[in-house]
């Protein structure tokens, strides 16, 4: 051996510097940092993200009364492109992608061979042969291996595409004022491209709040100017930046689940019995047996046929007003029936809400006489509460403005 030469591959060399910032900053970071008052950051998939910016309780009302701007850039994004993109997505995911027209997006999930959920996410059909899959976990090897036999290219593009969620009753009017002409004609789950400076921004009428709202995706270099455009137009519409804590409250009201909070994804489960099938996470409605083969189909059909589905995900309303995070659910106050995965007091519905994973038959054939044991810690003393829980449908909060087209006031 002779002395090793310096690295000449510039791309690899430049990338070495990632270690200087272990928590990456999103493309919107300069703006969010300027607004940050609480210094309450948290780690979202390796990104420095705001948990709150000024006050959790008040941020929540920005979602429900004004327009809340939330940075979703850390969402993992994959570009799926090629003549077989539709067929590929159809084999990958549970829902029928052939029914997803270009310019539409749908919420879906995908499973491993044994029918256990790998993740849920949104699938954007940006064009006939071009899709974007947006999710929480990382799946590149799975997607690449799944692409064998399909004329399709799969590329990870998380860092290239910045994302913003603009949610709240004034969001449509705000966008209109910002020059997004025709935004009011977009129906829920519509996608439309709008010009922005030299490029374009992809807007979808989607969100994670159960409110009127949009998500905007843009090439990273144009991210800040998009923010500024919204911010400037938003002044008259009460635009506020919000953090994860407020968003989480809104998403529980909307009855939406989060991977690795409300269920454990297969690639994360160290304990083999923690994985869940779609029918066990409230996603059974996605399973489309009328379409052709999709991953996990045989296992899901077998499980349904053999009645071997062991859990069920339910929405609960719990008496009182004490949130029941991670409490144990009992039947007749005695038999363990499951666990609360998410809980919140709903300021909008004035109800104490929870999402729970129950072991069948609880939540399935036995739906009465359920109780939740809450350990409320206040000033170093636990108050043990045994509160009645009632299974209620999700979403807990259903706002007409979420689906109205055109939205009121727009």
């Amino acid at each position: 051996m002779t002395v090793v030469p310096p690295l000449t591959d510039e791309k690899r060399r430049a990338a070495q510097k990632h270690i200087e910032t272990i928590r990456f900053e999103t493309p919107f970071h300069p703006r969010i940092a300027a607004l940050m008052q609480t210094n309450d950051w948290y780690d979202w998939a390796g990104y420095k993200s705001a948990n709150t910016l000024w006050a959790e309780e008040l941020e929540y009302f920005a979602i429900r009364a004004q327009s809340a701007l939330f940075d979703i850039s850390p969402m993992v994004k994959y570009r799926i492109e090629g003549p077989d993109a539709e067929a590929f997505c159809n084999r990958l995911t549970l829902r029928d992608v052939s029914k997803l027209r270009p310019g539409r997006v749908h919420y879906t999930a995908w499973c491993d061979d044994s029918g256990h959920v790998l993740d849920d996410g949104t699938l954007f059909r940006l064009a006939d042969t071009r899709f974007r899959l947006c999710c929480q976990e990382r799946h590149l090897p799975w997607l690449l291996d799944g692409a064998l036999g399909f004329d399709v290219a799969v590329t990870e593009e998380t860092e290239e595409i910045a994302g913003l969620a603009l949610q709240g009753p004034t969001s449509c009017a705000l966008l209109k004022a910002a020059g997004f002409d025709g935004i009011e004609t977009m129906k829920p789950f519509d996608i439309r491209d709008f010009g922005h400076e030299s490029g374009s921004v992809t807007v979808s009428r989607t969100g994670f709040t159960g409110d009127l709202g949009y998500e905007l995706f843009i090439d990273t270099p144009l991210a800040l100017s998009l923010w500024d455009r919204l911010w400037t137009a938003g002044e008259l519409y009460g635009i506020r930046a919000i953090g994860n804590a407020a968003l989480n409250q809104a998403r529980i009201e909307a009855g939406l689940i989060v991977a690795n909070i409300d269920f454990i994804t297969t690639d994360h489960a160290l304990r083999a019995d923690r994985v869940r099938m779609p029918d066990e996470t409230g996603l059974g409605w996605m399973v489309d047996l009328k379409k052709g083969h999709f991953n996990g189909r045989r296992a899901i059909e077998d499980a349904r046929r053999n009645n071997s589905i062991r859990h069920v995900l339910v929405g609960l309303e719990i008496e009182g007003n004490v949130p029941a995070d991670h409490a144990i659910v009992y039947h007749r106050k005695k038999r363990e029936a499951g666990v609360i995965t998410s809980a919140a007091w709903s300021p909008t519905a004035k109800r104490n809400l929870a999402i729970a994973s129950l072991e069948r038959p609880y939540g399935d054939t036995i739906t009465e006489d359920l109780w939740v044991e809450i350990y409320a810690l206040h000033e170093l003393r636990y108050t043990k509460l045994m509160k009645r829980a009632t299974i209620v449908p999700r979403p807990f909060v259903k706002l007409p403005r979420r689906t109205a087209t055109p939205p009121a006031d727009c």
């Binding site: 690899r12 998939a45 990870e156 690639d267």
Partner: protein, 539 residues
């Protein structure tokens, strides 16, 4: 003449762990050690003024926390500092780092392969799943599958239940870990050779196998099933060097009333009427004891310390057939300043972790081919750490101790004994490899301790210099370790036990063999084992 309740041959970590547990059960224990220092291969010595070496073992992960707690080792100075990760330098001037933060680690791998970056998670999950399965087995005596004794049967039932509780997928993974080569195993997850090369190191360390040999996937697991304070798979430095483990053990032993005699080399075990009654030292001194426990490896114990005629012939044959193959060497270096590695960013955390220079599986395997041919590797695999980056107590400020573990090093050189010239030539392969990546490296060297299998055997007493006291292949694990029928720390000689790494669960500074042996000895002696904590629950 004093008759001890137990005499332990060898003050290595397992011997001391064993002695501590026996002493704490009320036995009067003497540990005899041939060297004028204690610690065996978990030792820190100052061979040149101002520098403390970890002369043999150099990093800590496997040592069981249950033992640390039972024997109050923190009270006697033991502290393990986890380290960041590490790096493998590539021949094109780059490196691949293993960072502690999972996202930083992903981004680092993504510099080489976007796919592999995202494949790591599933790999880590699978390895962790398997470690969770194995961990509880480390602190249990392996059952004899050929026995009908109630204890063996109930232990077999325990194992059976554990297996029965696994899903088909998990069982399959177990089979794969036990039978595959680490190279094939990693191929199923990753495409980047440099990543595979970094990970495969754990599959070959201390082992006379190459990364392409079936069985090395298990060896990797053996290196992952440790922990630092609950972080499974993490490694750390023992503050003050690896000797602080055995120092803490010795202090714990003395505090509970035990005795250690150094410069007391055992010549043979005293056996009368088929019963061990003590040991005879090299000078002829007899030490009487109700039982004898050997921390030496199974070959040294039964082929050297015991007269062959005291042992059944098939047993002797089995012991002879035990595979204990020297495959590694060590170069300990005192440096007068911190070496520079221009490939790394300044102040890279990698400098605090393990660094390698073998950037492909093929180079690693070719290094093994040299060993098979009876030569030390021309292009060796080096596992290099600089503990002083996290533990400044081991050298004066600004000075550094560097430990270079190297493979492969044969027990004999092309069939003949090692010479000093061979040893120096071996050291040169290590130094020159480092110097290729670290300009000016040679000029920083103040002192060097070079240990081939010859030195390791002569000083520490490990046959062939094998760091695990025996290969970690399936034929020598669990109920097969060290030999079938004698995998429960007992021997054919009444009152003679073994407690070293030759026994289940094997090598590494783990302490479990010493602890498990103590539990068996106490059972035979009808003493309480309440102070021997069971393995912590894996939930």
């Amino acid at each position: 003449m004093k008759r001890w309740d137990a005499v332990v041959i060898g003050a290595g970590h397992n011997g001391l762990v064993n002695a501590c547990y026996l002493q704490r059960a009320g036995l009067d224990v003497l540990v005899v050690e041939k060297n004028d220092w204690i610690g065996g291969a978990a030792v820190s010595r100052e061979l040149t003024p101002g520098f403390t070496y970890s002369n043999c073992s150099y990093v800590c992960s496997l040592f069981r926390p249950e033992i640390m707690r039972d024997l109050e080792l923190p009270r006697y100075g033991l502290q393990v500092i986890p380290y960041e990760g590490g790096a493998v330098f590539t021949q094109d001037g780059d490196y691949l780092a293993a960072y502690h933060d999972p996202h930083a680690h992903r981004r680092e791998i993504a510099r080489f392969s976007a796919r592999d970056a995202e494949a790591y998670e599933r790999y880590a999950r699978d390895v962790t799943r398997q470690c969770r399965f194995i961990q509880p087995l480390l602190m249990r005596t392996a059952p004899d599958p050929a026995s009908f004794r109630p204890r063996d049967l109930s232990e077999l039932v325990y194992l059976g239940r554990k297996f029965a509780g696994m899903s088909a997928e998990e069982l399959q993974l177990t089979v794969r870990f036990w039978t595959m080569s680490i190279s094939d195993f990693l191929d199923e997850y990753f495409e980047t050779d440099v990543l595979k090369a970094y990970l495969a190191v754990s599959g070959i360390i201390g082992t006379a196998l190459g990364p392409m040999s079936p069985g090395t996937a298990y060896v990797l697991l053996h290196h992952y099933m440790g922990e630092v304070d609950g972080a499974v798979g993490a490694w750390g430095f023992a503050r003050g060097g690896m000797g602080s483990i055995t120092r803490a053990l010795a202090d714990s032993l003395r505090a509970s009333g035990g005795t250690i005699r150094t410069e007391a080399e055992v010549d043979h075990v005293l056996i009368r009427n088929g019963k061990a009654e003590g040991v005879v030292l090299a000078g002829g001194e007899e030490i009487r004891a109700a039982r004898v426990i050997s921390n030496a490896d199974v070959k040294r114990t039964f082929l050297k310390f015991v007269d062959e005629k005291e042992l059944p012939e098939p047993f002797v044959k089995s012991v002879r057939n035990f595979k204990i193959r020297g495959s590694s060497g060590k170069v300990n270096i005192a440096l007068d300043s911190m070496p520079q590695f221009p490939a790394l960013p300044e102040d890279s955390p990698c400098l605090q972790g393990d660094m390698h220079f073998t950037d492909s599986i093929e180079r690693m395997e070719r290094a093994y081919d040299d060993w098979k041919a009876g030569r030390w590797s021309a292009d060796p695999m080096i596992d290099m750490v600089i503990p002083t980056t996290l533990d400044p107590t081991m050298a004066a400020p600004g000075k550094h101790f560097m430990s270079c573990f190297s493979q492969y090093c044969p027990p004999q050189v092309e069939g003949r004994d090692w010479t000093d010239a061979d040893r120096d030539a071996f050291a040169e392969t290590v130094i020159s490899q480092i110097a290729d990546y670290s300009p000016g490296f040679r000029d920083r060297i103040v002192h060097m301790e070079v240990r081939t299998p010859r030195e390791i055997e002569a000083e520490v007493g490990l046959t062939e210099g094998n760091i695990f006291q025996g290969e970690l292949t399936f034929d020598q694990l669990l109920f097969n370790r060290p030999v079938p029928g004698y995998a429960q720390y007992r021997s054919p000689v009444d009152g003679l036990y073994i407690c070293g790494s030759s026994t289940h669960p094997g090598g590494g500074v783990m302490g479990a063999p010493g602890r498990n042996a103590a539990a068996e000895i106490l059972r035979d002696a009808s003493k309480s084992t309440r102070h021997v904590s069971p393995a912590y629950d894996v939930i």
